[in-house]
């Protein structure tokens, strides 16, 4: 067992070296090798046997998975992030009382929350929140994610965009960029309902474009119904105020039929 452990630790050291050099291909290969060799240890979940080496093996396995998570962020691979994170979770929950807590735990949890927010899986976001102990909310990384979600829900998008500057961890920047894109779409959607028209300068400022050209491209691709006339962007008002003299006959027929049916049932 010890021999295997030594091998794995050495491979892991090589992985760390490659990671710091930003050599992601070597990292990925080494990682798959490491994962395979990890399956030989029986002290890891789901088996969780009590071998004499258990503590060290568990700690090592957890470190490997944490690095895997960071790697997937650097390579911008959301699926592998999800996979690695779900493999990492049992280490935080089930064996947390056996091995010393990891310093990377809170940043990684925050990263996961951010990912769920970006992918708009708000229900899972809240479910994950419930699992966190109450003192975790004081931690900076997690607080950041929670406040972000709040601002997003309220609609204070400028706060979201400003938070980009105050990331607690450098790995957050990838998700923040994705978030910025989502936010931009949201702002555009809100603006077209809220404003009748807006000057080009203001629109550009709100949508966080750096030049007019980008704005025009964006409008052409995503929002064809907007018109630019003389330095002012006109949002096409959807004809919501149709006097609508027609009666929704089908709906009324359905309703009346159901009433008749139910009344007949009353004995």
């Amino acid at each position: 067992m010890d021999l295997k452990f030594m091998e794995v630790s050495q491979a892991f050291d090589r992985f760390k070296v490659a990671f710091s050099r930003k050599d992601f291909d070597t990292c990925r290969n080494l990682l798959s090798q490491l994962k395979v060799s990890l399956t030989t240890f029986t002290s890891l979940p789901p088996l969780l046997e009590e071998t004499p080496n258990a503590i060290r093996e568990l700690t090592l396995a957890r470190d490997i998975y944490e690095h895997a998570v960071f790697l997937s962020v650097k390579t911008e691979d959301q699926e592998s992030f999800e996979r690695d994170f779900s493999q990492l979770k049992p280490y935080y929950t089930d064996v947390s009382n056996r091995i010393p807590p990891s310093s990377q735990m809170n940043p990684i949890l925050g990263l996961n929350l951010l990912r769920l927010l970006v992918q708009n899986r708000i229900a899972e976001f809240h479910t994950e929140l419930e699992l966190l102990p109450s003192d975790a909310f004081k931690n900076l990384c997690i607080k950041h994610a929670v406040e972000l979600e709040q601002s997003f829900m309220e609609g204070a998008y400028n706060r979201v965009l400003n938070a980009r500057q105050t990331v607690p961890h450098e790995t957050y920047s990838y998700f923040m960029d994705l978030l910025a894109k989502t936010v931009r779409d949201e702002i555009a959607g809100c603006s077209e309902k809220a404003y009748e028209s807006l000057s080009v300068k203001d629109t550009r400022q709100m949508l966080m474009f750096s030049s007019d050209k980008e704005l025009e491209e964006y409008i052409r691709e995503e929002r064809p119904e907007w018109e630019i006339k003389g330095g002012v962007v006109f949002f096409l008002r959807t004809k919501e105020s149709i006097p609508c003299k027609e009666i929704p006959s089908l709906q009324l027929i359905n309703q009346t039929l159901s009433y008749a049916r139910e009344l007949e049932r009353i004995v």
Partner: protein, 517 residues
């Protein structure tokens, strides 16, 4: 059935009896009881002998039920036991165990070891009674129902005495014993046993240990089509998961478990409550509100604590949906004090004042964390802002964004820009009917048109009608009719009557005909 004992025919466990010896005499039973009532107007005998008597009545009832495979009797036996709960004491139980189980058998010794030794001087009277009862013949073979019943009795007693560790040991032993039985009559007792098993572990804080066991028991219950057991176990499992905040797993279990018509009202209420909690966390507020309100309605009036919990969650869900619960909700009997924090919270949301909301949330933060509703309260902040905005847009036809920010008391570095984006989102979500003017920096509210000229009233009426009709259908379905056995007997009698009448009528007609002739 060769039973020497004659269990009380009158069936009323509340009468006072002198000594259990008398139950041996079949003939004089009723007469003697009446004599006792006359002679001893106030009970000289302590409560314990009659408790023992009741336990033996229950024993007899279970025996009959087991023999005749009638589940109803076992249910009645359990009901009597619950009534007796407060009067149980260690000596009573040990004497009952002596009576029901063969002394010296493995079960007897195990169960007796859980009971504390009786040191009560007031129980001396029982000692005499004990010697009397030991003269009674005990049955040679012990039916499984009696065994499980004894376990149940000891377990209830231990939990009431707050001896949780012994209760834990006892319940584990009983579950191990129970797996070998597969009878419908045992199932009722079994479901009670599961409940106390889970309770004893919860009270000692080791709820996570039994999760695997509960899952296995649930599988077995499903295989045997034991619906009451399935229901109970599902609820216990959900409670287990929710205790540790594992909402994801709870939902996965709930969505995959087989569903059927509820057998027990209490289990159904519990199920609705857990379902409501899961839905709330998953942001499906409409479903959650329905489940929670239904659970609060269906719960029996005596279950005050349960109804308070349901009401608390229902209040929060309604706030999250944007509707304000009425004051009467908080003024229900017995709930006023516990619901007070939620009342203040509702007030803050109704006014739409963020600072007041924050003050209330901080003031009662311990209550909220004890109720585990802390995260939900955080979500309410968004609603407070919305309500505030809505109030503003209704009252003003035109208001500047800086004023909005000041009124909403948004504490941020750039209030105007924040307010602008918040208002824009509110407009898009349809909460506020207005337009923004960026150049001048103000919000212009739209004219509210005449609602009656649209189909809005029809839609509102339709939803109310559907609700009433639904309620009516559910009530009809919940009606209970008397069991069929009575019907058959009656129809036999009625048939005879009818035949008699027909005969008379025929005779009458024949006589008339004769007269006519």
């Amino acid at each position: 059935m060769e039973k020497v004992r004659h269990f009380s025919v009158l069936g009323d466990p509340c009468q006072n009896l002198q000594s259990p010896n008398q139950i041996l005499t079949k003939m004089t039973q009723d007469i003697e009881m009446k004599e006792q009532l006359v002679a001893h107007s106030d009970s000289i005998s302590s409560v314990s002998p009659s408790t023992l008597q009741h336990l033996m009545d229950i024993y007899g009832l279970i025996e009959i039920g087991a023999y005749a495979r009638e589940v109803r009797r076992i249910v009645r036996a359990i009901r009597w036991t619950i009534q007796l709960r407060k009067k149980l004491s260690a000596t009573v139980i040990s004497s009952f165990l002596d009576f029901a189980l063969v002394p010296g058998s493995e079960i007897h010794s195990r169960l007796s070891s859980y009971l504390p030794k009786a040191t009560n001087p007031g129980d001396k009277h029982d000692m005499e009674v004990d010697t009397a009862t030991s003269a009674i013949q005990t049955p040679a073979k012990i039916s499984p129902e009696i065994e499980i019943y004894c376990y149940l009795l000891v377990l209830i007693f231990l939990i009431d005495e707050k001896k949780y560790n012994e209760a834990k040991a006892c319940s584990t032993a009983s579950i191990a014993r129970m797996k070998s039985f597969n009878r419908r009559t045992v199932d009722i007792l079994a479901s009670r046993l599961y409940f106390y098993y889970s309770l004893s572990y919860e009270l000692t804080g080791h709820l996570a240990e039994i999760r695997g066991n509960l899952l296995m028991l649930h599988r077995t219950a499903t295989l045997r089509h034991d619906e009451l057991g399935q229901e109970t176990l599902l609820n216990l499992l959900l409670r287990n998961y929710l205790h540790y905040n594992l909402y994801d797993q709870a939902e996965k279990l709930r969505s995959r478990a087989p569903r059927f018509e509820a057998h027990s009202n209490q289990q159904f209420c519990r199920y609705l409550f857990y379902l409501g909690k899961i839905r709330t966390i998953q942001l499906e507020y409409t479903d959650a509100k329905e489940s929670l309100l239904q659970a609060a309605r269906k719960a029996p009036m005596s279950a005050l604590g349960f109804r308070v919990q349901c009401t608390k969650w229902a209040v929060i869900v309604r706030l999250l949906l944007g509707e304000i619960p009425e004051r009467t909700v908080f003024m229900q009997k017995g709930m006023e004090k516990t619901l007070h924090p939620y009342f203040e919270l509702t007030n803050a949301v109704r006014i739409g004042d963020l600072e007041l909301f924050k003050a209330v949330a901080d003031k009662f933060s311990d209550t909220f964390s004890a109720d585990r509703t802390n995260n939900l309260i955080i979500r309410l902040r968004h609603n407070v802002i919305r309500t505030g905005l809505r109030n503003i847009s209704i009252s003003y036809s035109r208001i500047s964004l800086a004023d909005i920010a000041r009124k909403l008391r948004l504490d941020s570095s750039n209030p105007v820009a924040d307010a602008e984006s918040i208002v824009a989102k509110a407009i898009r979500d349809g909460a506020v009917d207005a337009t923004l003017d960026h150049a001048n920096g103000w919000m212009v509210s739209k004219e509210t048109g005449d609602i009656y000229s649209t189909t809005e009233p029809q839609i509102a009426f339709n939803s109310r009608i559907a609700f009433c009709l639904n309620m009516h259908n559910e009530a009809v379905r919940a009606l209970r009719f008397p069991p069929n056995s009575h019907k058959e007997k009656e129809s036999a009698e009625k048939r005879r009557e009818r035949q008699q009448q027909e005969q008379e009528l025929a005779k009458h007609i024949a006589e008339e005909d004769e007269d006519d002739f």
